[in-house]
Structure formats: structure tokens, C-alpha cells
Amino acid sequence: MRSWLAHHVSSFADASRRLLRTPFASGFTALAIGVAIALPASMYLAISNLNRLAGDLPAQPEISLFIAENATQGERDAIKQKLGAHPAIGRHHFISSEAALERLKAKGLADITAGLEKNPLPDAWVLTLQQASPGAMETLRRELAGLPGVESAHADSAWAERLQAMLTLGRQIVLLLSALFGLALVAIASNAIRAQILARREEIEVSRLIGATDRYIRRPFLYFGALQGATGALAALGILVLLGLAMDGPVSRLATLYGSPFRLASLGAAEGVAVLGLATLSSWLGAWLAVSRTLRKFG
């Protein structure tokens, strides 16, 4: 048990020494892995920032709730109470039929309204959602439309749906790209390990002749692969930080112009750890594939 642990420790030490002994080769491999990670990761960041931006936009999707002309005062009060207490509703305000008519007049449509003997516009509530997802919006609209005293409820959610659809598409693309670049990463790692294996062919052969198991032979290469993936992930995080720094200035200037407090968000700690873990794992996998193939060739 202790010697097993000792071999793990010495394999790890050996792998780090080998990584450091060829700083240029290791550096370029780390850079290649870093770019392969940074591409989908920066797209992911762009999309999650867009998503946040969509949530922050002043023109939030709204639901207009038109009150029936013959609604009783009791029903009107019940509606008001319901809107105030509903957890899914953000802001809500009342526009009386008179106020609505005034607005029309103010917009220069006095000519049309002048001829009317009776105000045709209904009383209405305009409300925004706590969370603007198309699904939640439709659920709420249907719920409110069913309330007694409500004539109809309209959701102007088309643009929100379109944006959401685009973001979903974007996320799908990121997912596909991640899978592709993940494959690339495995290939890069496996290739780098192949060079290591070629350089250590003798050692593998001799070790096998004097009783080394496949597991024993694989161990230092797996550590090498894992370390390589980890350095690649660090390179990727470095690239993302540089990209963030480059983009931060222009984005906040743009946001300021629009009077928005929006600031670019970078990768969170959990996401950083996930990148590190996945890169380490795929590079480990690449090493495993490369060594196993070589061992099979030895027969």
C-alpha cells in the first residue's frame, strides 16, 4: 500500500520533471490546448453575458391586462390584490381608460379621438415579469386571462422569444463546439504523449520484461497527460482573462452611452474549476489511449 502510494508520488514527480525539462514543447502543447478550450469558453462567456444583458434591458417584455367594461368594483380590487401578491410579477402599474386616451391625444391622434362620443379604451394593467422567460410569460398570461373581470391578456413577448431562441441556438453551438474541441484536445494530448512514449520505448520494453504490469507502465504517462491538461487549462484561463481585459473597456463605454450599468462578467470560480477538471480529464484520456495503443503493439 505504501509502496503503491510511493509509486504514485514518484510518477507524479517524474511527470512534472519531464514537463519542465522540455519547456518549449510543453509550452506549445499547453498553448494549443489552451486555444482549444478558450474558443468555446469565450463563446460561452459571450452568450451568458448576452443573456444577462437581455435580463437587464429596460424594455422588459410586458403583459397588458385589459379589464372588462362590466367588471365589478370587487373584481377590480381582487385583480389589483392578485397582481400585488403574485411572486412571478415584477412591476405593475394601472392605466385607466382616461389616461390611455390622454396618451393617444398626446401622440397627436386627437383627430381620431375627437369624434368619439364614448371612450372606447378599456382600463388596463401593465406588468413586467420577475424573470423574463417565454415559458413563464405564457403561463402567467394564461393564468391572468382566466381571472374574473379580465377581458383579455396580451403578451408582447415575440422579441423576447426571438432573443431566447437565438441564445438557445448559441448555447447549442457552444455545446457542439465544446464537444469538437474536446476531441481536438484529446488528440493533441495523445499526440504529445506519443512523443514521450517514443522517447521512452526502451524503458517500457525493459520494464515489461522484468514484470511491470500495464498499470505500472501507464501511471507516469497518465500523470504527464493530466499535468499537461491542467497547464493547458491554465493557459486557457489566461487567454480568457486577456480577452476580458481587451473587451472590458469598449463594452463598458458602449454600456455607458446607453446609460446601462452593464459590465462584462468573467468566468466564475465554479466554471474555472470545471474547465480545469475537464481539460485534465480529457488530456488524461488522451494519454491513456496513446499508452494503451503502444502496450498493445508490444503484445
Binding site: 509509486h7 526502451e202 524503458e203 520484461l209 522484468i210 514484470g211 504490469t213 500495464d214
Partner: protein, 219 residues
């Protein structure tokens, strides 16, 4: 300990290296394997260590049919065999002591215990003073002795030596053969392939003579 039953080994390409060999080697026996170049000496040793597998027939070591071992059990067979190679097969990127430690590291020995044993083995072959040296800095005879130290460091019950005195002058060869005598005395089973007739006479042991893959006499 070792039993060959009607063993034939044909290499891809149709060449028959061993032809219908039947022989037994007892526990603690010292056996020399002789024959012209290409007679099949190395092949016979490789079959015992499961480096090659017989085309037909069975090779058993301690009752185990080694030709049938799975790739996961072969390493455990080899840990009980000390192999001395015709071409040494030392690792030139690590020191003398690290080379001697390799079998113990593979077998999972505690590092401290392994160091003790490796030093003892190097001492026995007269290389203890060179433990920090790299193998390139060793002479041919010293490299051969390091190979022997590595083969016996885990105190295997069976040692297979392929031309251990191959390219050495007579003085060195006697040294090395005396070492084998010592191993023989403590009960190790030894199979040594050699061209060196003088050595065999000096040592006195069983001789297995191969001629074009066939057993000639002494078996």
C-alpha cells in the same frame, strides 16, 4: 521446475527455431545451454519467460503452463524470474542504483527495503562504489554485472542468463561465472546459454546442447 513437452517454435516467416523439444530442469539445477549461433538458445529461454509463446507443445514453470498465461498474469511470472539479456537492456537515462532498483519498484517494494537490497546486489557484483554513476560510464563487463545485479536483486528462484559472458575477456568471464556458482549454492535454479566451452568445464554442470533447434545430447 521447468518442463518442455514436445515444444516447437516456428517464427513468422516459417523458420523453425525449436523442433519438438522435450526436457525437464529440476529445482536448484544449474544447466548450460549450448549450440551454434541460431541453434535456438535465446528462443528456448524466451519461451520460459513467456516472451515468446510455443507454436505447439507446452512449457510449464512451477506447474503453470506459461504459454497460456493471459497478458495480465505474465508480469507476475516474470517477477519470479531473473533475466539476464544478451544485450544487457539497461536504462541509460538513470543511474546504476536506479537500474538495480527497477525490479523492486515494479514489484512494489518499500523504498527503504529496496535500497538495502539494491545495495547488497551491487555489492555482490562489485559495483557498489559506482552506484551514482550512469551506465554509459561503465565498461562492457561492468554493464554486464549491473544486468546481473538487476536480475538477482529481487532474489528470484530462477535465473535465465543469455550469453552472460558473451563479449567479455576470460578474466571477466570467470568472475561472472563464479557469481553464478554462488547463486547456485544458495539454491537458485540457473539456465545459462553460452558458447564458452571452457567455462562449462570449469563450472561442471548439466549441458543441454541444441543443434538447429533439436536436442542433441545431455538432456
Amino acid at each position: 521446475m521447468i518442463q518442455f513437452s514436445q515444444v516447437t517454435k516456428r517464427y513468422p516467416g516459417g523458420l523453425t527455431a525449436l523442433d519438438n523439444i522435450t526436457l525437464g530442469i529440476e529445482h536448484g539445477e544449474l544447466a548450460f545451454l549450448t549450440g551454434h549461433s541460431g541453434a535456438g538458445k535465446s528462443t528456448l529461454l524466451k519461451l520460459i519467460a513467456a516472451i515468446e509463446r510455443p507454436t505447439s507443445g507446452a512449457v510449464t514453470v512451477n506447474g503453470q503452463n506459461v504459454g497460456r498465461l493471459s497478458r495480465h498474469t505474465v508480469p507476475f511470472l516474470r517477477r519470479n524470474i531473473g533475466l539476464i539479456f544478451q544485450d544487457h537492456k539497461l536504462l541509460f537515462d538513470r543511474s546504476v542504483i536506479e537500474n538495480a532498483l527497477l525490479p523492486l519498484s515494479i514489484a512494489g517494494f518499500d523504498r527503504r527495503e529496496a535500497m538495502k537490497r539494491a545495495r547488497a546486489a551491487l555489492d555482490k557484483v562489485g559495483l557498489l562504489k559506482r552506484e551514482r554513476a550512469m551506465p554509459v560510464a561503465l565498461s562492457g563487463g561492468e554493464q554486464q554485472r549491473l544486468c546481473i545485479a538487476r536480475a538477482v536483486v529481487s532474489r528470484p528462484a530462477l535465473v535465465l542468463a543469455d550469453e552472460p559472458t558473451g563479449n567479455l575477456d576470460a578474466g571477466y568471464a570467470i568472475d561472472i561465472l563464479n557469481m553464478f556458482k554462488d547463486f547456485h549454492r544458495v539454491g537458485t535454479t540457473l539456465v545459462i546459454s553460452t558458447h564458452d566451452e571452457r567455462a562449462i568445464q570449469a563450472m561442471g554442470g548439466r549441458v543441454i546442447h541444441l543443434d538447429h533447434g533439436r536436442l542433441a545430447d545431455g538432456a
